[in-house]
């Protein structure tokens, strides 16, 4: 079966009295960008770690493009799935940018000649070719996260997961990482999963999945999720500017479109209304 399938997943952290996920079912189609949103501790990151076999579910079955997530398939699984974590520093293994990208390739026992070619290609993809020999302490957070993405691209995975990978970056750094993701989605048939609190990032995804109370509270295109202001408030997700505007207009008695509009769509709608 294609894509990522989670069936009836239950997971309890060691020492916790309550499972963080209970009987969760979720399908992430191949080649699509899905965003997981939810409160801190709702189990978003747990889902990411379960998919990559970094955690083992108490119950249930997970497959990634047909490959069952079990102890026996971990090596194959780590080749298919790449994760970019939140803290740019704590995933930088190598002493230089090139060394860091080489780390995953060394684990796959690639011959050196092929490694150099893959590193060059991956660095070119993220626009960091000039910094190949730079030490991590001289890089910005955004640059480090781009290196992390390059390290994963070099492994030629099918699935890339970003676990709040932009949350510790400044706005410019965040934008470069998001632009890179948009570009990757266009050019390669990558399945992208992002975990975020950022409404802008949500609107870029094909599908938004709301993780709440041990399971999936709602899922659908961003336009359907982002207009549920009450839900967003409860999750602690920022309300997008256009939605906020639309809510305030509604409160004043203006009839507004029911679904979420991006800022540009909102501007167009307002112009049509006013002319």
């Amino acid at each position: 079966m294609d894509g990522i399938n989670l069936e009836n997943i239950t997971y309890t952290y060691p020492g916790a009295s309550q499972p963080v996920l209970k009987g969760l079912n979720l399908q992430l189609p191949r080649g699509q960008w899905t965003t997981l949103i939810g409160k801190n501790g709702s189990g978003k990151s747990t889902i990411a770690r379960l998919i990559d076999g970094l955690l083992v579910a108490d119950e249930g079955r997970i497959t990634v493009n047909g490959l069952p997530v079990t102890e026996d398939h971990l090596t194959a699984l780590h080749r298919q799935v790449g994760i970019v974590f939140q803290n740019p520093d704590n995933q930088f293994v190598g002493a230089t940018v090139a060394d860091d990208i080489a780390f995953g390739l060394e684990n796959q026992q690639l011959p050196r000649a092929e490694m150099a070619a893959r590193i060059d290609k991956a660095l070119a993809r993220v626009g960091m070719s000039k910094l190949a020999e730079t030490e991590p302490s001289l890089l910005s957070g955004g640059q480090k996260q781009r290196v992390a993405i390059a390290g994963i691209l070099a492994l030629e995975p099918e699935v890339i997961i970003l676990d709040e990978a932009t949350s510790m970056l400044d706005p410019a750094g965040r934008q470069t990482v998001l632009d890179l993701l948009v570009q990757l989605r266009q050019e390669e048939a990558l399945t992208i999963v992002t975990i975020t609190h950022d409404p802008v990032e949500m609107t870029m995804a094909d599908k938004v999945v709301v993780v709440d109370q041990q399971g999936i509270a709602d899922e659908g295109p961003a336009s359907q999720i982002l207009c549920q202001t009450a839900l967003l408030h409860r999750l602690g997700v920022g309300i997008p500017v256009a939605q906020d505007l639309s809510d305030r207009l509604a409160a004043l008695g203006v009839t507004v479109p029911a679904e979420y509009l991006t800022t540009n769509e909102m501007v167009e709608w307002l112009c049509r209304k006013l002319s």
Binding site: R49, D52, L54, T75, H78, R79, V81, G82, I83, F85, N87, D89, N90, Q91, F92, V93, G94, A95, T96, A98, D99, A102, F103, G104, L105, E106, N107, Q108, Q109, L110, P111, R112, M115, A116, I119, E135, P136, S137, G151, I152, L155
Partner: protein, 267 residues
């Protein structure tokens, strides 16, 4: 900048010594240190010192930088020398008071120890000044390779060393951040006696340790996600290249060793 205090030593350059293979430099440095222990006369000491001086000149690293490398150790060297002078016995006695005696043998020994200390520290500084730390780690890994035969996990140790080196600046930054955070809460780090200052380090060290453990755990997860398996063999991206100049440098050292040994055992 914080980096400079710990491994202060690498001075970028393109001298002959910089270009030598790190394995050659490591071997040279180790065998030189061993040779220093064979030096027992003015002739051998002068010969070894001359060789070191030649290496220092060849490295094109300023003498002032070398001095900066040795200076932090000056206290230890002086203390050891003072102990030798005051406590060792043998030969004619020049001066005696309470527990302290200054004898001829004591003076000679302290001179030899002083010489050894200075020369060994300087020789290692020549190595670290001309070789990036990471390269030294690579060379060390190569040198330890034979240990795999007796089941020493050389590759894991090497990876550990290189990760430790890579995280030094990160953890230094963190320490500065924590110190600033504690200062902003009204802690005064720069006043008081030694004991007071040391106890004030505790509120910095504890968060630093906790943070480092968290880092370690996250790093381990990230490494596992990228397919790291400690038991599996890995290929290596960084490769060292042995040139003829490296062989020549080792031959030169062999000549030096021969000269020192001849001087020691025949004269």
């Amino acid at each position: 900048m914080t980096n400079a205090i710990v491994f202060g030593s690498y001075v970028p350059g393109n001298s002959r010594l910089h270009r030598l293979d790190p394995r050659a430099k490591l071997l040279l440095c180790i065998s030189y240190v061993v040779l220093v222990f064979f030096a027992n006369s003015w002739a051998t000491c002068l010969l070894l010192a001359a060789a070191l001086l030649a290496a220092m000149v060849m490295s094109k690293v300023g003498f002032r930088l070398y001095w900066r490398g040795i200076r932090p150790l000056a206290w230890i060297i002086l203390l050891t020398v003072a102990f030798q002078v005051l406590f060792s016995t043998g030969g004619p006695v020049y001066w005696r008071w309470w527990l302290f005696t200054v004898t001829r043998d004591g003076l000679v020994n302290s001179l030899i120890i002083f010489f050894r200390f200075m020369v060994i520290v300087t020789a290692s500084t020549v190595l670290t000044a001309t070789t990036p730390t990471l390269r030294i780690a690579d060379a060390l890994a190569w040198l330890m390779q034979p240990l795999t035969a007796i089941k020493v996990p050389v590759n894991q140790i090497t990876l550990m060393i290189s990760i430790a080196l890579r995280f030094i600046p990160t953890i230094m930054d963190e320490a500065v951040k924590i110190a600033n955070a504690q200062r902003s809460r009204g802690m005064n780090l720069d006043e008081g006696g030694l004991i007071k200052r040391l106890t004030r380090m505790i509120p910095i060290l504890i968060p630093l340790f906790v943070d480092s453990f968290k880092r370690a755990e996250e790093l381990a997860t990230a490494m596992e996600a990228r397919g790291y398996d400690p038991a599996a063999p890995r290929t290596h991206y960084r490769q060292l290249h042995w040139h003829r100049r490296d062989t020549v440098s080792l031959l030169l050292l062999l000549v030096l060793a021969g000269a020192v040994l001849v001087l020691r055992y025949t004269l």
